[in-house]
Subunit: 223 residues, 2 copies
DNA sequence: AATTGTATAAAACGGCTGTTTTAATGTCAA
DNA sequence: TTGACATTAAAACAGCCGTTTTATACAATT
């Protein structure tokens, strides 16, 4: 057996990054295999860590998964902030919202875990989903709802606002969750940046058209 | 035991009974738990069969899953034949389309397996998906697109029609694929027949409002 | 220099999994 | 009845799983 004498310059970094390497490796494996099929041994193997590392750093496999889910969401949110146009007009903000959503979905890099992990949560929700919804998704939902509410004006009921917000989000996530079907129905469908721009534009126009009509009806009722 | 049907091949009948119970039980469990979390012991338990029954009738767990997928597809196709409201107005047909879609999604019975199993195919597509898209999904997509095209009129490009059709379908399937998140965001959300009616009504109004706006813009361009 | 706390390593532990083996049961044909 | 065959049942198997235990090495503190 070799007893490697570690370089004192790298000891701190190696130790400090074991947790991080586990998160990265687990993100890969969980996204590829799903929670139950993924094994702690494979995760530790890819991370170059001992089998006990997961239990030491994350209590258990479930704890690791929860952390990975939040980590992936954080990566995604960091790379694609919801939007930064709080001063812009509602129409502009809606388009920023859609584009940000689509960019997240079409990303091929590390945040791609986020999409796959979320899809798996939709099919087999774990306890990790509860925290994710409260900490990450609800703020975004509230943001969109207040945006829709602002556009529709005072006459709009809370229920109508919620339904419209859902209709908007639905168009965005559709391209993620139905991608295998879309690819088969329309083989020419591209997934590049230009396409994101085109889709964001359509979703915005479609949704604003719908909202405009609702607003008109609300005005008619008011009179 | 009564044998009402004078089938001379009683061996096959008895075999088919256990086989059938296994398919039903496995459909439940696979849909609830997913392939890996589901255990053959629980399936056999629900089916009132011995643990070895799966290996006897379906070779192994994977063979059972494949059979369940085909069986669930058959059930869904039987219960929800392709709708035909070709005589109604476009607005009415759109609402019929949305309601039909939502009813399938909110179905708690046997066809619910189909939806959940389909969701798994979205994450890890198998060869079964190709046939499913061509035989079942493409006809529905074409139907909706011709509906949208009819409403928008001659000026609408093929691309615009496709995008609008997707926006409509997206709103329907959203309630299927994002249900775990919706349930957590809005715990009061119901999933009964009245709710289906309400949602179908909203989706129709939202989409028609959007289409109306597109139509108006198309007219303006034409002038 | 001794102690404490943190991080990693190797090995083993129960437990559960899918599957197989072996035996028993029931059914039909000769 | 007898023999052959299909099906069910009980038990055991081998393997993998997540987790724990135990021991060691290192860093910082006293």
């Amino acid at each position: 057996m070799d007893i490697l004498i570690p370089n004192p310059n790298t000891i701190d970094t190696v130790q400090a990054k074991t947790r991080q390497r586990l998160l990265d490796a687990a993100g890969e494996v969980f996204a590829e295999q799903g929670f139950h099929k993924a094994t702690v041994r494979e995760i530790c193997n890819r991370a170059g860590a001992n089998v006990a590392a997961i239990n030491y750093h994350f209590r258990d496999k479930q704890g690791l998964y929860t952390s990975v889910l939040q980590y992936a969401h954080q990566c995604s949110a960091d790379k694609y902030p919801p939007y930064n146009g709080s001063n812009a007009r509602v129409e502009e903000q809606l388009k920023l919202f859609a584009r940000s959503f689509l960019l997240r979905i079409f990303d091929e890099g590390r945040p791609a875990w986020h999409g796959k992990l979320m899809s798996r949560e939709m099919i087999e929700p774990t306890t990790a989903l509860d925290a994710l919804v409260e900490n990450n998704i609800r703020p975004i939902a509230n943001q969109l709802e207040s945006l829709v509410g602002e556009y529709l004006g005072q006459g709009a009921s809370k229920q109508l606002i919620i339904l419209c917000a859902r209709s908007i989000v639905a168009q965005c996530v559709f391209y993620h969750h139905a991608r295998p079907v879309i690819s088969r129905l329309y083989p020419n469908q591209q997934y590049n940046l230009e396409e994101v721009e085109l889709l964001a534009d359509h979703i915005t126009r479609f949704s604003l058209g719908a909202l405009k009509e609702f607003k008109k009806q609300l005005k008619a009722v008011k009179k």
